[in-house]
């Protein structure tokens, strides 16, 4: 782990490009901008490739390139010292390669796609910014550094979704994305805090040794590792659009299509998967409940999004739900411990999903920005490259052998089917059986989702590229194939979609092939397995694997076939009939299970209402109108009284003087006597001790008479004392004591049982 390499170049180059483009791009023209943007990313890609080669060749299996970004400490606070550095190991190598190269392709694509955009420079600035931030995310050597990139990509995503800010809809979509991501970040941040608090480190390099400390029970009987994992997963669910935080991603399609391809399909949204894989030590914490949660959420998301995808009509929305669904797949992968499979799917998905989006962009480019697939159709003949690349992507995502999607999806499905959660070892009886059944349930959900995926992807393909054109004649007139800057990336990605899967072929299939071929074909597993010690047990016997593969293929084929049945050559009448028959279901799916509405009802509107209430009610009325007005109110009232009293009548003035004089005389004497009868009684068997007067009083000022037994007759009279007086009682009982104090100067008398001017002073003795 000591190898030094200028990793910072990988992030600095795109960031530099961003700065240049944002600051000077407008003045320097589009050519310059595209040159800067593409060469920055290309530079990063080259440096990254060099670094990855270094990792592959010169480092031991679990080694990593590291680069101390800030010399010394980054944040120092008392006993806490955080460093900020970059780290390139095998896992991040995969990500870096995917991010840099796909980013480069999309940059190139965007130079064509955004050609006529007035804010060309801004767009590329943001895109470069995103690339830089994504690379920080990927390369960060600790959770805080990752978090910097994490938020950075969030910002870039916000900016790019709202790139066409002239429309409120786009700006709102951007805001929604950012805020939903923030909800995730809330968990992520707390996860970092918890991890740091309990374990004392947030560096990935130290994660190998923290498993023991993660076992500490923490809350509700679960180990701390579980909570850390859950909190981190909240962040991942936000970024990677999982239930319940997926709602932003479909809206995010408001951004330019290259953005959707790069950020909302290929790279950023997979960051959550990356983090789960990266922190697998934490997720592996016994009893793996966190992983079960991850897998469950992933499967649910995969299924839910896939079903929604079936009925959507917006080109990019379908792709968006597909992305959500595929991300669910990946989470099931990492959640069941098949980390390699998850990351593998991440990689292959990057190719074909980016391709799908770019294809969509190409189509919409030709359609003049139209996104409704109902208005397309028969585009295949106008745009052959787009069509055929799209065809390949669809095969890939549907999981047809030997396209990329088949292998990665199969790896996940197989991994899921084979998974055993260690929680079952901690349980017995039916509970254990339930846990054991859990992977199978997940598998079934994924299989259903895969069916849906194949169906809606091919529905998309058929509706868009086959049949008759359903748009306006003007649109038809303009239909054309996209420029080469756009088609080139399509082709490259198509090639990738075909080939990428071949480096992760399951072992059963490569059995018997030449060793070098086998090495290449199982390269991916071998590449990652040292970094990600596989937690899942050995896979099943070969026939099970073959059967699973066959099943998956069958499911995909079934989906494609169904789609062909209903949509080949345009939207068939059967499809329309089906829609009418299943009206309720269609409506539910069309409205995306009403999740947005539910959120609006449960969160957004209450927040707005509560905010208004707090402001108008608490702030303005209670605090400002009430609490801070009480004082002034009384001041005002008393002020008015004081003022009104001064009515200008001299005689009243003189009377006030006399009353004041009398008041002084009375007050000073009355209070003396009054204070004089304040006292307490202490009882000790038959004798009671009476303590009277204020200790601060001059002694001997008052003359007391005391009635010890409350019979109305004073037992002791003419007593002058200022400390204590004792009395012996003859018999036991409760006695009331009455004291009378007399001020000899004024003969002002105050009895402890009179009610004049102030409460009476109860004195009593209870003797035994």
């Amino acid at each position: 782990m000591t190898e030094n390499f200028p990793l910072y170049l990988i992030i600095v180059l795109p960031l530099l490009g961003a700065v240049l483009n944002l600051l000077f791009g407008r003045r320097l023209g589009n050519t310059f901008v595209s040159l800067v943007a593409c060469s920055a990313v290309a530079g990063a890609a080259l440096v990254a490739t060099k670094a990855v080669l270094l990792v592959a060749s010169d480092l031991p299996d679990r080694g990593a390139l590291i680069d101390q970004l800030v010399s010394g400490d980054w944040i120092v606070a008392g006993d806490m010292k955080l460093q900020a550095g970059l780290m390139l190991d095998r896992l991040s190598s995969v990500m870096v390669m995917v991010v840099t190269w796909i980013a480069l392709l999309i940059h190139i694509y965007a130079t064509g796609y955004m050609e006529h955009e007035p804010d060309f420079a801004r767009f590329f600035g943001y895109l470069n910014l995103f690339t830089g931030a994504m690379l920080i995310l990927v390369l960060g050597d600790s959770l805080p550094v990752t978090f910097i990139g994490w938020e950075g990509v969030g910002l870039a995503s916000y900016l790019l979704i709202g790139f066409w800010y002239h429309e409120d809809k786009n700006a709102t979509a951007g805001r929604k994305a950012f805020i939903v991501n923030r909800v995730g970040d809330f968990g992520f941040l707390l996860g970092i805090c918890l991890l740091f608090t309990v374990v004392g480190t947030v560096k990935y390099g130290d994660f190998g040794s923290i498993a023991g400390r993660l076992m500490t029970p923490w809350w509700m009987g679960w180990p701390v590792g579980y909570w850390v994992a859950i909190l981190l997963f909240v962040g991942c669910a936000g970024k990677s659009a999982q239930i319940p935080l997926y709602v932003w991603l479909p809206d995010a399609m408001a951004g330019p299509t290259p953005v959707s391809a790069l950020i909302h399909a290929a790279t950023m949204v997979t960051a959550g998967v990356y983090v789960v894989a990266r922190c697998h030590t934490i997720f592996d914490t016994f009893p793996e409940a966190a992983k079960m949660t991850v897998a469950g959420v992933g499967a649910l998301t995969a299924l839910m999004a896939a079903t929604i995808g079936i009925v959507q009509r917006d080109f990019k929305k379908v792709l968006a739900y597909s992305t959500v669904s595929q991300l669910g797949f990946m989470f099931v992968g990492v959640g069941t411990g098949a980390y390699t499979a998850g990351v593998f799917h991440l990689m292959t998905h990057a190719f074909f999903k980016a391709g799908l989006f770019l294809g969509a962009g190409s189509v919409m480019h030709a359609m003049g920005g139209e996104g409704d697939i109902a208005k397309m159709g028969g585009l295949g003949k106008h745009m052959p490259i787009t069509r055929w690349t799209f065809f390949i992507y669809c095969l890939a995502i549907a999981g047809i052998v030997p396209f990329a999607g088949f292998f990665s999806k199969d790896a996940i499905l197989a991994g899921t089917f084979a998974a055993e959660f260690r929680m079952s070892t901690a349980m017995s009886g039916p509970q254990a059986q339930l846990v054991a059944l859990y992977p199978k349930v997940l598998w079934a959900m994924l299989a259903t989702a895969a069916l849906c995926t194949a169906f809606y992807m091919w529905r998309l393909y058929f509706v868009v590229f086959t049949g008759k054109f359903r748009g306006t004649s003007e649109q038809e007139h303009h239909l054309h194939e996209s420029p080469s800057s756009m088609t080139l990336p399509l082709v490259v990605l198509a090639v990738g979609s075909v080939l990428a899967g071949l480096i992760g072929v399951p072992a059963v299939m490569t059995h018997g092939l030449p060793e070098s071929v086998e090495h290449v074909m199982t390269f991916f597993t071998g590449w990652l397995s040292p970094a990600m010690v596989p937690a899942s047990p050995e896979p099943h016997e070969h026939w099970v694997e073959w059967a699973l593969m066959g099943g998956a293929l069958t499911i995909s084929a079934a989906g494609i076939g169904l789609a062909a049945l209903l949509y080949r050559g345009g939207i068939s009448e059967t499809a329309e009939n089906l829609k009418d028959k299943l009206g309720f279901l269609h409506k539910l799916l069309w409205n995306k299970y009403y999740v947005d509405e539910i959120y609006d009802f449960l969160l957004v509107r209450p927040l707005r209402r509560v905010s208004g209430l707090l402001w108008k009610g608490v702030d303005n009325i209670i605090i400002d109108g009430g609490l801070t007005k009480i004082g002034p109110f009384f001041v005002d009232i008393f002020g008015a009284m004081a003022q009104r009293f001064q009515n200008g009548d001299v005689q009243r003035y003189i009377i006030a003087v006399m009353v004041g004089t009398a008041g002084i005389l009375f007050g000073s004497t009355y209070w003396l006597a009054y204070r004089g009868i304040q006292g307490e009684v202490k009882v000790d068997k038959r004798s009671a001790t009476l303590k009277l007067g204020d200790p601060r009083m001059r002694p001997g000022q008052l003359i007391y008479a005391i009635d010890w037994d409350g019979d109305g007759k004073f037992d002791d009279t003419n007593v002058r004392f200022n400390s204590e007086l004792k009395h012996e009682y003859g018999s036991a009982g409760q006695y009331k004591i009455v004291v009378e104090a007399r001020d000899p100067v004024w003969n002002m008398v105050k009895r402890s049982d009179d009610w004049f001017f102030g409460a009476s002073v109860p004195l009593a003795a209870k003797v035994e």
């Binding site: 606070a77 002239h166 409120d168 923030r182 707390l190």
Partner: protein
């Protein structure tokens, strides 16, 4: 170097006097003098950094002032105050530059008021004598009152009076508390001394400490402002001119936390165990509440003002937690908030100068007309909501982390204070989400969407002067986000030192009954207090 602190403190005052000597009509000259003075002050104040030993007081001056009462003109700087001082001196030239065209009425008066205000702020940050601190603390008040009242908006009278009255409520009680402490010191030692160092050695009984702490804390919490003492702030912010809002948000609010960590907490450690949990709860309420109320606003400035309530809630939370992470975070958040909110107010000033309104509904889609401005506002918005890499993140992160990792006992031997620190932390962290909610709402309503209002069609982008105002702020926003250790390397040792001293004093135990000085356990009480008038 020995004289640098008084020089820095009084340079603005000299500038103010210079302005008074110049003829009233020379407005441009006055502006230049104001700007020049502030700039020179900033440059001179940078010298303070050289060779600064953060854990102790540097460049101390200790001059006799009112000798018979033991009042000494005692200034010093350590890691806690140095960045706050630099923040002040850094902001003032910017403020002067930003008001170049915004203030065109009574220019001389404005320059003089602002310069006097600067002297007050610097003095209060530097004072090591309770009396000197109080004097500077109050000196700040009146120029600010004038700045709000003369150059403010429609409701400026109400705002100015409210500002002063609120502040006075706290500061008068603080005055009583200061007097009480000093009288106690005198009763124990026989010496009159207002020195912070002496007062820090005084150990009082626990109830006394609680009352005195509350008296101090009230003053500081009003300044912060802590919920529910915050209602002066939105009004003052909204009505104040841009310069006033910037100074108010960036510097004046910082006196709350500064006073807490410098005075209230070290002086009355045994009160902390009782009061701090309440402060923490109020702070968290402030975070959530401020955020929610900010979301309900339709006035740009008011929204930012309420965001200050939320952000400063983090600061108080950090202080109340009393561990080195959170306190560092709190102080860091002070700086970050100074830059980001100051920047936001400067942005509002740019808008206000063009349109003379701050209603969000009046704007929308300004990005088309003012891209540079939009970028600036965006960066400050992001800094404000704590995007990593910008100023807001480090402080919030440290506070949340510090709170989350707070042990039940801030120190060994203290009673359990924070059984639910994690809950507090979680609630505070919702502020991160809510911050995004209201700030992005603001940004969208002002900058994004269609440009519908015809009055906005011809708005010019930022001028060169305005850009010059923003650039240093932007640079600082990035610097604070990227290289936190530039600042933490000074703050951290000082915080550690303060907490060590706190622990030391705490473990000496509260006095029962008679007050005593730290270090001497059983000193006989001095019989008759000597005359404060210094009778021979």
């Amino acid at each position: 170097m020995g004289m640098i602190l008084p020089i820095v403190t009084f340079l603005p005052l000299v500038g103010a006097l210079l302005c008074l000597a110049l003829p009233r009509e020379e407005e441009q000259l006055h502006r230049s003098v104001g700007f020049g003075t502030a700039l020179v002050t900033f440059l001179v104040s940078l010298l303070m950094l050289s060779g600064l030993e953060p854990a102790k007081m540097n460049h101390v001056v200790d001059w006799a002032w009112v000798e018979s009462l033991g009042i000494r003109f005692n200034l010093g700087i350590d890691g806690i105050s140095v960045w706050l001082v630099l923040l002040t001196t850094f902001l003032m030239p910017i403020v002067f530059l930003s008001t170049w065209s915004a203030i065109h009425d009574k220019v001389r008066e404005f320059i003089v008021a602002a310069l006097i205000l600067e002297t007050g702020m610097l003095g209060a940050f530097l004072a090591l004598d309770l009396f000197v601190f109080y004097v500077f603390w109050e000196v700040m008040l009146i120029p600010m009152y004038f700045i709000i009242g003369i150059w403010g908006g429609d409701q400026r009278l109400k705002a100015a009076i409210k500002f002063v009255i609120y502040t006075m409520v706290g500061s008068l009680l603080m005055l009583v508390a200061i007097l009480y402490v000093v009288v106690k010191v005198h009763q124990v030692t026989g010496q009159w001394s207002f020195a912070l160092a002496t007062a820090q050695k005084l150990i009082l009984s626990k109830p006394e400490q609680i009352y005195l702490f509350l008296a101090f804390a009230l003053a500081f919490c009003i300044k912060v402002p802590l919920f529910p003492l915050h209602t002066w702030l939105p009004l003052a912010h909204v009505e104040a001119p841009t310069a006033g809002s910037v100074i108010l948000a960036s510097v004046l609010l910082k006196f709350g936390p500064y006073g807490m960590i410098r005075f209230a907490i070290p002086l009355f450690p045994h009160a902390v165990e009782t009061v701090a949990p309440w402060l923490a709860v109020l702070a968290v309420i402030g975070v959530v509440y401020g955020s929610c109320v900010a979301y309900a606003q339709d006035d740009v400035k008011k929204l930012i003002a309420y965001s200050s309530v939320a952000h400063m809630g983090f600061v108080v939370l950090g202080l109340a937690m009393m561990n080195s992470r959170s306190v560092n975070g709190a102080l860091y958040q002070c700086l970050a908030h100074g830059i980001s909110t100051g920047g936001l107010f400067l942005c509002v000033g740019v808008l206000y100068e063009r349109r003379h309104t701050r209603k969000m509904a009046e704007f929308g889609g300004l990005w088309q007309r003012m891209p540079v401005f939009a970028a600036t506002l965006l960066i400050f918005t992001m800094a404000s909501i704590g995007l990593p890499g910008l100023s807001g993140f480090v402080g919030e992160f440290l506070v949340i982390l510090g709170t989350f990792s707070a042990k039940e006992r801030a120190f060994e031997g203290m009673p359990a204070m924070f059984e639910n620190a994690r809950m507090l932390s979680a609630f505070a962290a919702t502020g991160v989400v809510l911050g995004a909610v209201y700030m992005l709402w603001l940004f969208q309503r002002v900058m994004l969407g269609p440009l519908t209002n015809p009055l906005n069609r011809k708005l010019p982008d930022m001028t060169a002067r305005e850009t010059a105002v923003m650039l240093p702020m932007l640079a600082m926003a990035f610097w604070l986000g990227i290289c936190p250790n530039t600042f933490l390397k000074h703050i951290d040792p000082a915080v550690t030192q303060t907490l060590t001293a706190f622990k030391e004093k705490y473990s000496a135990g509260a006095a029962d009954g008679e007050a005593r000085m730290l270090g001497d356990s059983a000193k006989p009480k001095v019989e008759e207090p000597a005359a404060p008038g210094g009778n021979p």
